[in-house]
Symmetry: C2
Subunit: 108 residues, 2 copies
Amino acid sequence: MDTEPTSYRDRKVISIGTVSELTGLSERQIRYYEERKLVFPDRTKRGFRKYSFDDVERLMDIADKIEDGVQTFEIRQEMIRKKKAETKENVRENMLRGQLNAHFNLRK
Amino acid sequence: MDTEPTSYRDRKVISIGTVSELTGLSERQIRYYEERKLVFPDRTKRGFRKYSFDDVERLMDIADKIEDGVQTFEIRQEMIRKKKAETKENVRENMLRGQLNAHFNLRK
DNA sequence: CGTGTAAGGAATTCTGACACG
DNA sequence: CGTGTAAGGAATTCTGACACG
């Protein structure tokens, strides 16, 4: 529905040390934000975390909010709200699509 | 001149183990292609290789050629030829640009 | 609540070399 | 030429926990 199915932005290939350098956050912080369910890295077979560029950006956003005094709990709530809004939008979009399809199928 | 100055495609953040999984090549092969000057990973302070998605793609191209019996030496030659061709093109492009600028600067 | 740190162990990566062909 | 492998060492990452506040 977007550009690519899974673009470079979404491939989980970056290890935590590199993410730490990229974001300026400590590994401790990065792992803690995962514990609070704000980021969801993949794991290699041996259990090593792998992040995407998208995760890196999300982490920087999180860091900004934390600095502004927002609690991880609130950040999570916000995330969930946004996700729900998106889902609703998709439902509407698909309904519209269905109606259009029905319309054109009848005509032909 | 292109899209972004340094997009996700060009950021060197992937370690050799992950590149090995992504490409299906052994670490030995990946290091050897570097020795033959076909790829140029960055290094962390401690000397760990870091690759970009672009490197990953290049490695898969290299692997295809090797399979077809092309020698690393030839692959390298080819790379150099292409780079030179690009450089020439840029030179022409910049000359043209310069002429256009001169033209419009005179008019104004 | 968010983050630092020391602890012990397991997995990763590095280089130089020998091997095969 | 291209690639596998064993070798020894150094650096990375993991988890659970104690600490401060």
